[in-house]
């Protein structure tokens, strides 16, 4: 397959797939970490939702 005259196009298509998927995955993971961090900071400062306040 490497000898194929269009090998560059095949490689580029799969590289594009890898890059697009990696960016998507990285964005979701980093967003999750960011939201968890913000939530932890708010909870540490004493902020509670009303529903959680009732439970206590």
């Amino acid at each position: 397959m490497i000898d194929d005259p269009h090998f560059g196009f095949i490689l580029a298509a799969y590289m594009a797939g890898f890059v697009v998927f990696s960016v998507l995955l990285l964005w979701i993971i980093l967003d999750y970490k960011k939201q968890k961090q913000l939530l932890a900071m708010l909870e540490a400062s004493g902020a509670r939702r009303r529903s959680e306040g009732d439970k206590r």
């Binding site: 397959m1 269009h6 298509a13 594009a16 797939g17 697009v20 999750y32 913000l38 902020a47 509670r48």
Partner: protein, 247 residues
Amino acid sequence: MNLAFANPGRFLAFIRFAIPWLAACGAVITAIGFYAAFAYAPADYQQGETVRIMYIHVPSAWLSTACYGIMALSSIGTLVWRHPLADVSAKAIAPIGAAFTFLCLLTGSLWGKPMWGTWWVWDARLTSVLVLFLIYCGILALWNAYEDPARAGRSAAVMTLVGAINLPIVKFSVDWWNTLHQPASVFRMGGPTIDKSMLWPLLLVAIGITLVVLALHFAAMRNEILRRRVRTLSILAANHEMKGIVE
């Protein structure tokens, strides 16, 4: 089922279990599919090795419309039933759908150049998929245009349902108009025209990537639920501070 997961807390408990399983099963099936696509599936008698681009282009194309379908169903959930997770689902799937539509256009272009002799033609299939990508971009912009997620959700839901008219146009464009893009060869009346040796690796890759996309969708929904909790707590904290200042 619909009501059982209406509670975000219960839904988070469910996806904590579902995400690793979906991702693992999806990754394994995708890996087997790609292995079969390169090791067992033959080269095409006309296109040669270039047909291997099909195993990434076609699943991306299917997912671009499937993600929009999920977004449209979620939008109905937002507008009709006011399901608390419907707009969370719609917002979470939008960037994933946009990414796969972009990938579909990009890999299609990389397939088109060696086979058609051009990167792009304004034929009905290519143009309708480009319109689909632009609709995704518009919906993403709309989500970011509002401060209140509930208002953004309703506006985005209306736009999503208006844009859903493009889905049958994408699907049937190759039948309704004379296009350079080939007609459907898998999901068509009379069964697939593609040879079995190429069909089963293609289906394996498509099923595997779909499972991975479901895992990504659930993970993005979890992020959105957390983002809304952060927003609520920030507002409560700000109100508390304001009350302290006034007193």
